[in-house]
Amino acid sequence: MRRIFMLLAALIFLFGISGCGLRKQIIDDISLISATGFDAGEEGVIMGTITVPRFTKDQQTQTHVFKAESHTIQRNFVKIETQVQRPLAIGKIDVILFNEELASKGIKDIKDLFVRDPSVGSRVKMAVVEGSSNDVLTREYWDQDAGIYVSSMIEQGVDRGNLPDANIHIFTYALYSRGQDPYLPLLSVGEMVKANKVALFKEDRYVGKIPEHLVFAFKLLLGEVNGGEFSLREEEDYYAAIANVTVKRKIKMDRTQQQPKITIELNVESSLREFKGEDTKPKVVADLEKKFERTLTKQCEEIIKQLQELNVDPIGLGSFYRSKERNFNEKEWDAMYPDLEIKPKINVKIMEVGIRK
């Protein structure tokens, strides 16, 4: 009995170790995809580009770029699979790019492909590209891999700069949410690739963008700013910049009337980074605060107007309304939204003026 048992165990062990082996994905035997980009081609064709970083022994990185065209994404991958040296592995993908044309057709199906795959993480970044994503990924970024470079560029823009945070989870959340619309960073392509704008979505369709000078105010409205920077230039030789901005957002809703009135209260705290003008006396600082408030309020109003015109709600006002309103109806809200009275109320405080008077 015992001997048979041992024999059985040994057999299973041998069987397990040799025959039925699982598919191995040894890290240096796979082509890790670092980024992928999708562009709309003619007649509904989708052009797919992927980048595969190649780490050499002397710690240098090269980028291998592959391209394929097809009607479906999966088919693209199959086509690329025939070009690569080692099997593709999607698990460490960092960025998914879409060009404007494709994004305006809707990206839900493409996004779902990545959401469904268990090996793709939830922190994968998504972005829209002005122009062609293939162009972004085929450029030279010194000796860095294109995918990793673009990914870190967006990441630092979110962490320190003025870009709002957006990854595949946040996008999916906003997509399903009944009171919020998604947004993504928008890369502008010129001499350099820059992550400096925001793409606005209605459902999964790209409908408009926030220009560069309004991105900071947009991030303020999302209530996300934590260490951003903003500069002010009203007259020729009057120039000031604040940094280390933190914001506390409070949304207030007045529901006495038929249509609710919404006030977005933003309490901004910051320190002065650059100032071209007189000494930073308390009066001057107070004056400066006023100026910042004025500019920001104007910018916010501009953004809100644009959002209402496009009937998109990336701020999540609908979600806020839903959490207060027992009989929330998504359609009613959508109809109501463009004509709502939404007011930003901004309160800027400059806490520090640096180490120079």
Partner: protein
């Protein structure tokens, strides 16, 4: 075959806490959110509490019943139904525990298949896990309790992982409350009870507890902890996912882990799923132990042989179940049986037993 147990094999009453909690928390906690949200939306946190309270009541009934003569359920069967009919009811329990083991084992392997190794060989992994179960149960009840204890304590660190998704929390998801009708909430409560069952093994290990009357409160603590755990997990999932989004996710708890990023580990779900084996091990070992013990008591078969039989049946059962839908349906059938046993059979047994004892006394 009597239910008396020598003292050296007994465990202290405090350990009942772990026995109850560890068998309740299993594969259910990976996916219960989706099923209850489908019924009662984000009001379903109330269903978790309601289901928890109902389990408290059943535990109370079980203790009332068992403490009368300090016997296990098989002896109670004999008291009520006589020598032969009682065996039929005993066999029902045996079947239920085997089905439960298969269901837990299969769902866990399914999770591994979907998330980690799509091409894993079912026979090999099942046999290895079956050998593991055999090795544990072969050590006797003390070792089974030990696994329940360690299977609770070691994975406790996973609670910390609930803090990471809060970075993306939308607390406004939780209000307003009571947007669903009482009926919907009750409906979700019934679904939720599926995540609590399994504690009916208490009916079998009761004689193995030192001073069992003292263990009553620990059983309740156990249920209370499970309720708390489910609530905590539900809270985090609810603020992390949108109500519509959660319905599209099969394993929301695993989805939460996908967002975790630590300097040394970028994707936590692989570690999480692997260490989940420790969480489900108590489920499987305790129910196979109960089944093998019941077979021994019912038919006088050696428990070791009964155990081997059960494990062979389990392996065959696991091999038979293929594909997500089949497993899902199977799991639902098992939970319905469990529901019937816990909420139908046990209260009934309690009533009959009380009456029988009263009649006997008056005689």
């Amino acid at each position: 075959m009597s239910s008396s147990v020598p003292d050296r094999l007994k465990v202290s009453p405090g350990l009942v806490f772990f026995l109850v909690t560890s068998i309740q928390v299993g594969v259910g906690i990976l996916s219960f959110q989706t099923t209850i949200v489908e019924k009662a939306g984000y009001d379903s946190w109330m269903s978790i509490i309601i289901a928890g309270i109902s389990v408290h009541i059943i535990i109370w009934l079980i203790y009332k019943m068992l403490m009368k003569e300090h016997k296990d359920v098989l002896d109670i069967h004999v008291t009520i139904f006589g020598k032969w009919l009682s065996k039929v009811f005993g066999v029902l329990f045996v079947f239920y525990f085997i089905l439960l083991t298969i269901s837990v084992l299969r769902i866990y392997i399914e999770v591994i298949q979907v998330w980690m190794f799509p091409e894993i060989n079912l026979l090999v992994i099942t046999t290895i896990l079956a050998i593991l179960i055999f090795y544990i149960v072969n050590g006797g009840f003390r070792v089974v309790v030990g696994i329940c204890f360690l299977g609770f304590v070691i994975p406790l660190y996973l609670i910390l992982t609930l803090l990471f998704p809060l970075e993306f929390a939308h607390y406004e998801n939780l209000t307003p409350i009571f947007t669903h009708s009482i009926k919907e909430i009750m409906n979700a409560s019934i679904t939720m009870t599926f995540s609590y069952i399994g504690f009916s093994t208490l009916l079998f290990y009761y004689p193995f507890i030192k001073k069992p009357e003292k263990s009553h409160k620990y059983a309740h603590f156990g249920v209370a902890f499970t309720t708390f755990l489910y609530l905590a997990v539900a809270f985090v999932t609810f603020v992390f996912y949108d109500e519509e989004q959660i319905k599209t996710v099969i394993y929301p708890t695993l989805g939460i882990w996908k967002i975790m990023e630590m300097p040394f580990v970028e994707r936590f779900e692989y570690i999480g799923i692997s260490s989940w084996l420790l969480v489900i091990l108590p489920n499987m070992t305790l129910s196979t132990w109960a089944a093998s013990r019941a077979i021994k008591r019912l038919f006088g078969l050696k428990q070791r042989i009964a155990l081997v039989l059960i494990l062979v049946i389990s392996i065959i059962g696991v091999l038979f179940l293929k594909g997500y839908h089949m497993i899902d349906i199977y799991a639902q059938v098992v939970t319905y049986i469990g529901f019937g046993i816990v909420y139908g059979y046990i209260p009934l047994l309690f009533i009959i037993y009380t009456i029988v004892l009263k009649v006997r006394k008056s005689k």
